[in-house]
């Protein structure tokens, strides 16, 4: 069974009104379990919209989406996925541990079970001493790690991430990418990741989905055959640079304008 199947999806905003926007057109995508897939494209290409469609935070205008073999809405109600956003979005009035326990509270878990799981997750993201701290006492990178811990707390098979490292500085970002790979390797979670950054996409994914500017279409799929075990050396590998070039050219080819907008080359 595929982790996610997107079939013939189209998304239009403000249909029929003067400010109608065709965000996504003819999207067909199949994601197999355990893979790490990145959506990349220029600003406004609809990659975040596609992610939110999969998350059932909005409905497609036409077409269908199945997650974990169910309709997207059912998957959301069953909590089959966890989500992380660019802003960590932790609740200021809750301790780190209680922030991680939020999805578990909503599922009705009792306190002992919740506490055991949040401790486990804090170990996973390497922040064991911080369970009693308040979010505003933590740095941006640490908050993002707590957000990831929260997203994975209920051990969902799927993780959706919308530019979670976008607000971090370069060094923290690379560190977080390595951490994320380690965490996902140990949990076996399927990940769909949205980003602006080509090196980030290539470093993290088994497959990069390249999208065109609005109206967003999938123009190319780039396989990244590094396998699950990646390290700092991977960033220096010749194949790494080759893949970056491949993705960049795919992006350029996808655009009709000579200048690349919204793509980072870092």
């Amino acid at each position: 069974m595929n982790a996610v199947e997107v079939m013939g999806v189209r998304k239009v905003f403000n249909q029929g009104k003067g400010n109608q926007v065709d965000a996504l057109v003819d999207i067909d995508l199949v994601i197999s379990p355990g893979s790490f897939v990145t959506l990349i494209g220029p600003s406004g290409c609809g990659k975040s919209t596609l992610l939110r469609l999969i998350a059932n935070l909005t409905e497609p205008t036409s077409g269908s989406i199945s997650v974990n073999g169910k309709r997207a809405k059912q998957a959301r109600l069953d909590q089959d996925y966890g989500m992380a956003f660019q802003q960590a979005g932790l609740f200021d009035w809750r301790t780190v541990a209680r922030n991680i326990e939020l999805p578990l509270e909503l599922k009705g878990w009792d306190r002992a079970k919740r506490r055991a799981r949040s401790t486990e997750m804090l170990d996973l993201v390497k922040l064991p001493e911080f369970s009693g701290y308040m979010p505003w006492q933590l740095s941006g990178g640490m908050q993002q790690r707590v957000a990831i811990a929260r997203a994975l707390a209920a051990h969902p098979p799927l993780l959706l991430m919308d530019e979670p490292f976008g607000a971090l500085d370069e060094m923290t970002r690379e560190h977080m990418q390595a951490e994320l790979l380690r965490i996902c390797a140990s949990t076996g979670t399927t990940v769909i990741f949205v980003t602006h950054s080509i090196p980030e996409a290539v470093y993290l994914s088994s497959q990069v989905v390249v999208m065109s500017p609005r109206p967003g279409r999938i123009t190319q799929l780039v396989d990244v055959p590094f396998g699950k075990e990646r390290s700092e050396e991977t960033r220096e590998d010749a194949l790494f640079y080759a893949k970056i070039t491949e993705v960049r050219e795919a992006l350029r080819g996808a655009e009709f304008e000579p200048t690349a907008r919204g793509i980072e080359d870092r």
């Binding site: 998350a55 935070l57 959301r76 109600l77 069953d78 909590q79 996925y81 989500m83 956003f85 802003q87 979005g89 609740f91 200021d92 009035w93 809750r94 301790t95 939020l102 999805p103 509270e105 909503l106 390497k126 922040l127 001493e129 911080f130 701290y133 308040m134 505003w136 006492q137 933590l138 740095s139 990178g141 640490m142």
Partner: protein, 310 residues
């Protein structure tokens, strides 16, 4: 370098923050006492240089009378507290004033509680049903500009004449009701703003967690609303005090501090200092409510980062 050592270096120390806020509040209280002392000094200064029977500045009769009968010495006022009330009983003025303050305080607390519950309930309804918000919000906003206190004499006149079911409407209920009325509006507005304050991303987070509306209300909206509710609570508390005191005054609601101010005011010819004791009592009433709200503020917000919101 291990991951853990790297983390600890990134953390902002939190412990000094709590101590700093305590020191600030103590300093503020000290400054308040100092300003009271300065006012007392200014009072005495005016007494020594001011015109005994009032005076005029540029033809306007705006200088108050400085004689002892009208402006007693500060020491006289203070000592008056300890002396018996005279005439009918030996009870000290302090005791009489405190009893009146306590009487009014109970009315204020009753009114405040009712206004608080009603205001919060309305805010929740208005958050749930956007159409209710659109219909009612303009009235809530306008209510803070029109003098609702004008209704005081009307509501108070219900006393003793109205029967609700088997219960006779007492005058004190009017006072509490008016207090509740003046509490209700600022609390409804403030709570509504607070409940609507969480960023869209947090609402989306709750959606992604398949949280029902009730869970989002209690786990997200109410905690987010607290920083907005605290200033509203302060306004509500002040409103409750004003509502009760004005109601007491526009009737003869015996036992309350408002009534005491009027009664003592009538005694000024024979007993100049006593009216000031009642005024101080009314001030104590207001300050007690303000202190209660401050206490709630400190207790509920102690874990939050201090932003400049209130």
């Amino acid at each position: 370098m291990t991951a853990t050592t790297k983390n600890l270096k990134e953390v902002v120390a939190a412990a000094p923050v709590q101590r700093y806020w305590l020191v600030r509040r103590a300093r503020r209280a000290a400054m308040f006492v100092l300003s009271v002392v300065i006012i007392a000094a200014g009072w005495e200064l005016y007494k020594s240089v001011g015109p005994q029977d009032g005076g005029s500045v540029l033809g306007w009769k705006i200088l108050p009378r400085a004689k002892d009968r009208v402006m007693p010495h500060v020491s006289d006022i203070v000592s008056r507290f300890g002396d018996p009330i005279g005439r009918s009983s030996d009870e000290s003025v302090l005791s009489v004033v405190l009893k009146a303050v306590f009487y009014s305080l109970r009315l204020v607390l009753a009114g405040f509680a009712i206004g608080l519950v009603a205001g919060v309930l309305l805010a929740v309804v208005m958050t749930r049903f956007k159409i209710a918000a659109r219909a009612v919000l303009p009235y809530l906003v306008i209510s803070q500009t029109i003098p609702l206190i004008a209704l005081a004499p009307l509501v108070v006149s219900w006393g003793g004449k109205l029967k609700v079911g088997g219960l006779v409407w007492e005058r004190w209920m009017s006072a509490s009701l008016l207090g509740a009325f003046l509490t209700f509006f600022p609390i409804a507005v403030g709570t509504l703003r607070g409940l609507q304050s969480p960023p869209a991303s947090s609402i989306e987070l709750m959606d992604s967690l398949a949280a029902p509306w009730r869970s989002t209300l209690f786990k997200l909206r109410f905690p987010s609303a607290l920083p907005y509710m605290i200033p509203a609570l302060k306004l509500g508390a002040a409103g409750a005090v004003i509502g009760v005191v004005v109601s007491e005054i526009s009737t003869g609601l015996r036992g309350g501090i408002g009534r005491l101010v009027i009664e003592f005011g009538r005694l000024t010819t024979s007993d100049p200092a006593i009216v000031y004791t009642a005024v101080i009592g009314a001030a104590v009433l207001g300050l007690t409510m303000a202190a209660l709200v401050s206490l709630v503020d400190v207790l509920l917000m102690r874990n939050r980062p201090r932003e400049v919101l209130a």
